[in-house]
């Protein structure tokens, strides 16, 4: 869509923040999110894990693959002074490995979710504002990928090119981009046919202006809530791959692969802290993000949610 001459009369660079149009209505009032108690619990735990993820390697009592008790080598030692969460299958400190793994699990998942969002939103909004041909092609290809179980796609990719951190990020990012694509497209479509976009088009605004000033502010909230949900799924996906031995490779620590390495403890049963700790770490992280997402979307004004 090209700008009509009328629009160029009062053309202003779309990026400057202090632009105001007298004839345009103000942006809708932005609602401030006030967390409930459940929301605060979620935020606290998530923040805790983010701090561990960022500073873990400096705070950890031992290096990733160091033995806390090199003189008394014994696998699956119970928690004690010097190894507060016990030791694992190779007598390494579980606590230190959790702290090293935090950065890897969270970092990979966050990077993959960002990639999924970037790809999905760009293509989805693109499909929404382009003609039916582009939209059809993109949507059909997307549907084909969406109709596969995610873990299968992951398995095929890992089998084909092997597992490494960049491969994991790319795979998870592109797999979950399909879901984001659908959401972004649906939101984009809905907004495209709304009156205020119609008005902007009639006014003769350019495509970029419509995306940044009309569509984005309206698509922002649902997309941000969904980002949290998607992050949960990506964390679970990456952890599951690692748990199957196809994600982060040993001796690098990652929460999913830690559970796998120490599965042997189930048979011996003297100390299964080496399994419980990483599994609990993933669960607390994903559940707390879920609590935030629930809290934000309940706040977003679903009447049903309020009654619940």
């Amino acid at each position: 869509m090209s700008s009509t001459p009328a629009a160029q009369d009062h053309f202003v660079a779309p990026f400057s923040a202090d632009v105001s149009f007298d004839e345009l209505p103000d942006a809708p009032p932005t609602q401030r999110y006030r967390p409930t108690i459940v929301g605060w619990i979620g935020i606290t735990i998530t923040a805790f894990w983010v701090i561990v993820a960022v500073f873990g390697p400096w705070l950890a009592p031992y290096a990733e693959n160091d033995l806390p008790f090199p003189d008394a080598y014994e696998e699956f030692q119970v928690p004690q002074a010097g190894a507060w969460l016990g030791t694992d299958v190779e007598d390494r400190d579980v606590l230190s490995r959790i702290m090293f793994g935090a950065g890897r699990t969270l970092g990979i998942s966050f990077a993959a979710t960002l990639l999924a969002y970037f790809t999905g939103v760009v293509l989805g909004i693109g499909a929404a504002i382009s003609g039916p041909k582009v939209d059809m092609t993109l949507s059909r290809v997307n549907d084909a990928f969406l109709s596969l179980p995610t873990i299968m796609l992951g398995l095929v990719v890992v089998a084909a090119v092997g597992s490494s951190i960049p491969v994991l990020i790319l795979t998870a990012g592109l797999i979950y981009a399909t879901v984001v694509f659908r959401l972004a497209r649906a939101i984009g479509m809905e907004i495209m046919v709304s009156d205020f976009v119609e008005a902007a088009k009639v006014r003769g605004e350019g495509r970029w202006w419509i995306i940044t000033r009309e569509i984005w502010p309206n698509a922002r909230m649902p997309l941000i809530t969904d980002f949290g949900l998607r992050l949960i799924y990506v964390i679970l996906f990456i952890s599951s791959l690692s748990f199957l031995g196809l994600g982060v490779q040993p001796p690098q620590a990652d929460w999913g692969s830690m559970v796998r390495e120490n599965l042997g403890a189930l048979q011996y049963g003297d100390s299964i802290f080496a399994i419980v700790a990483p599994a609990l770490a993933i669960a607390t992280l994903t559940v707390s993000i879920n609590l935030i997402v629930d809290d934000v979307s309940a706040h977003g004004g679903g009447k049903l949610a309020k009654r619940m």
Binding site: L155, A159, G245, L280, V287
Partner: protein, 316 residues
């Protein structure tokens, strides 16, 4: 209605073809080819060439694809690259374990969680409802191996019931023995799908409860129990069946993690092995089986959704 179902099945078939293409191409971009992998690094070029011919790898790609697809339709999945055993034999040894666990989970987990969810919708805001909602919100985001660990901690380590790994064969066991044999895997998967099902069935019923005709029934003085069971539930069936099918489709992936966790042989552990040994003929065959199951369940979900909703059946 029938034309819609046929149309949906048509789309399903196209999806299957697309899926087979994705799997085929995905396993084709392997560095090195099947013959080289099978024969190892020390094989002479002549041997590799001969083996390539046997596998049909000298043919153009589309012929390879078509003959692979045709073989799959006839039930011939080819020979494993790692062990040279027919893949159908490998599957025959193991598929029952996977089928038992998925079917028993569906048979036990689904009705129980639907009943729990609908009961929560009957008493919204009650203590029962809140506890159930909190538990399901917590479990819905937790990984399968966390739920499994929790169950092992509670049952095996605290109460001393059962074994933390599934040992022995399921052969020749009666129904109750089977349930006991696979108790922990079934329980784990049931918990995972339950958290979804409880939330969705509760939401589906409550959603119908806020419609005008229910208000009418309330004003008429129909008892609450009767409103839910006779008025609301019938209209909530569509979304509920949809959610059930989606969750059964999820079992396709959930079962992989559970099999590895409890260490018993099944189709899922077979495909993981295939990935580790880069046995891509195995991955192709099993991948197709898993994806087909998934696509079929999705298809049922879609058909159920519009079969139960007259408004979707007769689009304006």
């Amino acid at each position: 209605m029938w034309s819609l179902i046929l149309k949906r099945i048509g789309i399903g078939l196209i999806t299957v073809v697309a899926v087979s293409l994705i799997i085929f191409i995905g396993t084709k971009i392997l560095p090195g080819d099947a013959a080289q992998i099978r024969l190892g690094q020390n094989a002479t070029p002549e041997n590799v060439a001969a083996f390539r011919e046997r596998l049909g790898l000298d043919q153009p790609l589309y012929i390879q694809y078509l003959s692979w697809l045709w073989d799959f339709v006839r039930g011939d999945l080819g020979h494993s690259l790692a062990s040279d055993v027919p893949i159908t034999n490998l599957i025959a040894d193991r598929y029952l374990n996977t089928v038992y666990v998925s079917v028993l989970t569906a048979a036990i987990g689904v009705p129980v969680s639907l009943a729990l969810g609908i009961m929560a919708a009957m008493f919204p805001g009650s203590l029962y409802d809140r506890v159930l909602t909190f538990v399901s919100v917590s479990l819905v985001a937790a990984p399968e191996f966390f739920t499994a660990t929790l169950l092992v901690l509670i049952f095996v380590f605290s109460l001393g019931i059962g074994n933390a790994v599934v040992v022995g064969s399921a052969e020749g066991k009666g129904l109750f023995q089977l349930i006991a044999h696979f108790a922990l895997p079934i329980a784990t998967l049931s918990f995972v799908i339950a958290s979804q099902l409880i939330r969705m069935s509760r939401a589906a019923v409550l959603n119908v409860m806020s419609s005008p005709y229910i208000e009418m029934a309330i004003l008429k003085g129909v008892p609450r129990r009767r409103i839910i069971l006779r008025h609301a539930l019938l209209n909530a069936i569509g979304p509920i069946v949809n959610v059930v099918a989606l969750n059964l489709a999820y079992l396709v992936t959930g079962v992989i993690v559970v099999e590895v966790y409890f260490g018993y042989p099944g189709l899922a552990t077979l495909i993981v092995q295939g990935v580790q040994t880069r046995d891509f003929i195995l991955i192709q065959g099993l991948g197709m089986i898993f994806c087909l199951t998934y696509v079929i369940l999705m298809l049922i979900a879609d058909i159920a959704a519009f079969a139960s909703n007259p408004r979707l059946r007769h689009p304006k």
